[in-house]
Amino acid sequence: MNFHGFEIVWSQRDEMLSGLALTLQIVVISSALAGIVGFAAFWLLVQGRSSIVRPMKTAIDLIRAVPFMLLCYLIYYGLPSLGVTFSNMTAGVTALTIYNAAYVAELLRGSWKAQPPEANEAARALGFHGWKLVTRIILPPVFLDAVPMLGNQMIQVIKDSAFLVIITVQELTYSANEIQATYYVPFASFICAILFYWILCLGVEGGVRSLVRVAESRR
């Protein structure tokens, strides 16, 4: 093995870094949106009437049983035949958002169900009610307990974002593939891409660890 390939990748670092930047952008936007949509879905699941809850549960189970790549194709190629057209980037972010929002809703619900009822009862006895009860007493432990799982979900977003290469979003894997196709250095270029994905995931894990420390100190 020689390092010639890595020299070529280094000379093409601008393309690699622009791919990395787009991956980062996709991950941040999709995670934020998936968090918001997932939270809304979770709130409807625990507060809504059964006429809303039941179809939502079915939809969430359905999405969670489908491969992400298929959802991606369905949104990018399928929706235009229903009259809705997207750019590939919008389609990708939409697919990532919908897919991961289903998981976020489900894991927030799990965290909600695992909470002991005492805090809620004590707060009510002390006169908390309405909005204040929800934001000060009920939701904080739900979120803090869900942090590690939310972190895992964000890692899933990072990994799923590579699937967007199939609808030619020019993210990290796309850049790596372009460089390997032009200069025939598949080993070096994909290894570099994988190292970048690793760094991103380790970053998320580090963030989760410091958030968990905050959660522990609040307990």
């Binding site: 194709y73 369905l74 190629y77 035949s81 990994k159 199939i166 598949p186 080993f187 994988i194």
Partner: protein, 214 residues
């Protein structure tokens, strides 16, 4: 969609199931091996395995697939598509399985091991008769969960041209200019595969519960 299209999707389903099944059959024992290396804290190897597993778990399956498919020939190893597909999925599955087995090993009750030692059982015997049978039981839900995850990333094999369900659907969509029907059928096929796995796990667990109660 014509009958031939439906047959093409079914053939794709066959490929998806076969390739995923082989990847699982390879990935689970390999993962167990890595987990045992970490559990036994084999000097040197322990850290190496930890790094490898962390790296593989952070690697998107598409990227790994492209690496295996394009880079191995450069190193002088020519692999047919299907073999590249199976090995990539098995590698990813191995990393996840390693963590599952390791988790099960770490929560294994220590008193049983001490008792086995007190009876003079050797290491291999302990592993074979005391640890493994219980390990399989406690790790089973997580293992089935990992299998469904594997099925869900398996469309990555379509990227290197293996005709699985997803690729068959893409082809039909491209030739008929109507992508929605084949994708919907593909979706139902995936639902059926994953549903069957979850159902099998429930049946197995119920049987175990019944066995424990009796």
């Amino acid at each position: 969609m014509t009958t031939i299209d439906y047959l093409a999707l079914l053939a794709g389903a066959g490929n998806t199931i076969a390739i995923s099944a082989i990847a699982i059959v390879l990935g689970s024992p390999l993962g167990l091996m890595l987990a045992l290396i970490r559990w036994a804290k084999v000097p040197g190897l322990d850290g190496l395995v930890a790094i490898l597993v962390s790296l593989l778990r952070a690697t998107p399956s598409v990227t790994l697939m492209l690496l295996v498919y394009f880079a191995l020939p450069v190193l002088g190893i020519e692999l047919p598509r299907v073999v590249a597909a199976v090995s990539t999925l098995a590698l990813g599955s191995m990393a996840y399985n390693c963590e599952i087995w390791r988790g099960a090993l770490l929560t294994f009750p220590k008193d049983q091991l001490d008792a086995a030692k007190a009876f003079g059982m050797r290491r291999n015997l302990r592993l074979q008769h005391i640890i493994l049978p219980q390990l399989v039981r406690s790790a089973l839900p997580a293992l089935v969960n990992e299998m469904t995850l594997l099925i869900k990333v398996s469309p990555a094999i379509a990227v290197i041209g293996v005709t699985d369900v997803t690729r068959a659907a893409v082809r039909i969509g491209a030739s008929t200019y109507q992508p929605v029907p084949p994708f919907t059928v593909a979706l139902l096929i995936y639902l059926a595969i994953i549903g069957a796995l979850v159902l099998a796990q429930r049946l197995f667990e119920n049987r175990q519960l019944a066995g424990n109660a009796a």
